[in-house]
């Protein structure tokens, strides 16, 4: 469970991005955060990942104040965040190596994840030799190999073509279901937010003290994209984002 209490945050010598912002994510929930550019979506994700510290207020994860990155919180970024100098296998092994897991065991774990994500034959390839979709799958494998409880995603599919994006969205649904993950997705893509977020947080212009919440209980079923409720909710989110951006 993630609790955000009276959160205030500003970058040095910049105005506040969040001001006494409160939020609560229950275990197993699937959130999408959407809003206009520069509204603080990514900042919120970095705060939840423990990569940035609030200037006031606090974030509590599973009852413990969040002060630095946690092994139970995984982060997937838009530009993959893969080490260019490590192979796909080396990248998946990285988190396990950082946790001092022995070479043979971590290699076996990494190979299994690459296999599960359809990358068995790409283990020896460097990121520069992989397509965008393959790179993002390596990044997903690297994060999930650490067995996190919470998966934070910052516009993970925005640089991919439509078909690859849909297939990876479906993959995330399947993997997060299997692993019983809590997911928080930051995106600027309305359809993606409505497909992946059972609860959608629409953020306005900073400083943010509250955000609009849209319940979207039908999300994450593979046939949802073709249903009327999907399009209705897309329209609703589009309208809310439009209002919040002005």
């Amino acid at each position: 469970m993630i609790e955000v209490h009276d959160l205030s945050f500003a970058y040095p010598n910049h105005p506040l991005v969040f001001q006494s912002f409160g939020w609560r994510v229950e275990r197993g929930e699937h959130w999408a955060i959407i809003g206009p550019s520069g509204c603080g979506k990514t900042t919120l994700l970095y705060l939840l990942a423990g990569l940035r510290r609030p200037v006031a207020g606090r974030i509590v994860v599973d009852g413990q104040p969040l002060e630095k990155p946690r092994p139970t919180i995984g982060l997937i970024l838009q530009d993959y965040g893969l080490l260019p100098w490590a192979t796909a296998l080396g990248n998946v092994e990285l988190g396990l190596e950082l946790r001092q897991m022995g070479g043979k065991v971590r290699r076996a774990v990494a190979r299994r994840w690459l296999e599960d994500l359809g990358l068995a034959s790409h283990g020896g390839h460097y990121p520069a030799q992989l397509s965008g979709g393959q790179r993002q799958r390596v990044a997903i494998a690297r994060t999930l190999a650490l067995d996190p409880h919470v998966l934070l995603m910052d516009e993970p599919f925005s640089s991919l073509d439509a078909l690859t994006r849909e297939s990876l969205q479906n993959l995330v649904v399947a993997l997060s279901h299997d692993a019983d993950l809590t997911t928080v997705l930051v995106t600027h893509n309305i359809e993606e937010a409505v497909f992946l977020g059972k609860r959608i947080l629409v953020m306005g212009q900073p400083p943010i003290d509250k955000a609009y919440l849209l319940e979207n209980p039908l999300a994450r079923s593979l046939d949802y994209r073709g249903k009327e409720a999907f399009h209705r909710n897309c329209e609703e989110v589009r309208r809310r984002v439009g209002e919040s951006g002005t």
Binding site: L83, L98, A128
Partner: protein
């Protein structure tokens, strides 16, 4: 570059040398065959000793430069505050031709190996420092965020991110600096010393022993070439990803 093309370049050089020697018909430029015979004979005599002395000075200077410039470059690259303090000093001292410090070095460090090794190290130090600092600066924040989110400590970030990020630039700087280092070694050894190829070139020149003088020139070139090739091979071996990305 293939071995065949290097061999072809050597043949072209030898043919050009032979043609020039035939055209000049002067003892100042002996035939390559005469020089190579003197070279082979000299290896068992003083030439061999001077090669070892010069080679050691060059390698020691390079090791000292890498050992001092890389850690400092990594520190400056990660600390904007420290870099802003030190950068003006580097900016002023970097363009100063360090060779003019040769007499000062000899007065301070003596006429032995130390002054020559330190002069070579000083010249390479600035070249390596600047590229390592700039390579550290250019590490994308997203890469750092993603590795930090996996739970990496500062030392692990240094090991898995900064050092590999700086490796290609460091080896390239060393490779490019080899020519400068050999030129500096020649000047340093032609001044207040009785050992090394620089001294031997001047010594044989003064007694008109041109075949042996050219042997020393060939030896000095061979040392520079060997180090250049070794660094090139090392770069290919430890920086696979650079080739993979091309």
């Amino acid at each position: 570059m293939s071995k065949r093309s290097v061999l072809l370049a050597v043949v072209v050089l030898l043919v050009a040398w032979q043609a020039l020697a035939l055209a000049l018909r002067s003892s100042v430029l002996p035939d390559p065959a005469v020089v190579l015979a003197a070279f082979a004979g000299g290896l068992r005599g003083p030439l061999g000793i001077h090669i070892i002395v010069s080679g050691w000075r060059l390698v020691a200077g390079m090791i000292l430069a890498v050992g001092s410039a890389v850690p400092l470059g990594l520190i400056l690259g990660q600390s904007r505050r420290l870099d802003s303090l030190i950068a003006p000093l580097i900016y002023i001292t970097y363009p100063v031709p360090k060779i003019v410090l040769l007499p000062v070095m000899v007065m301070l460090l003596g006429i032995g190996d130390v002054s020559k090794v330190c002069l070579i190290a000083l010249i390479l130090f600035f070249q390596i420092l600047v590229v390592v600092r700039d390579a550290s600066h250019s590490v994308r924040p997203e890469l750092l965020y993603s590795v930090r989110s996996l739970g990496a400590s500062k030392w692990q970030i240094l090991r898995f991110v900064y050092i590999p990020a700086c490796l290609p630039a460091t080896l390239t700087a060393l490779r490019v600096g080899t020519g400068t280092a050999v030129a500096v070694l020649y000047l340093a050894e032609s001044f207040a010393t009785r050992s090394g190829l620089g001294f031997y070139i001047m010594d044989t020149w003064q007694v008109f022993d041109y075949p042996m003088m050219y042997s020393a020139v060939v030896a000095m070139s061979a040392i520079g070439f060997t180090i250049y090739v070794l660094l090139d091979q090392l770069e290919k071996r430890v920086c696979h990803w650079v080739q993979a990305g091309k």
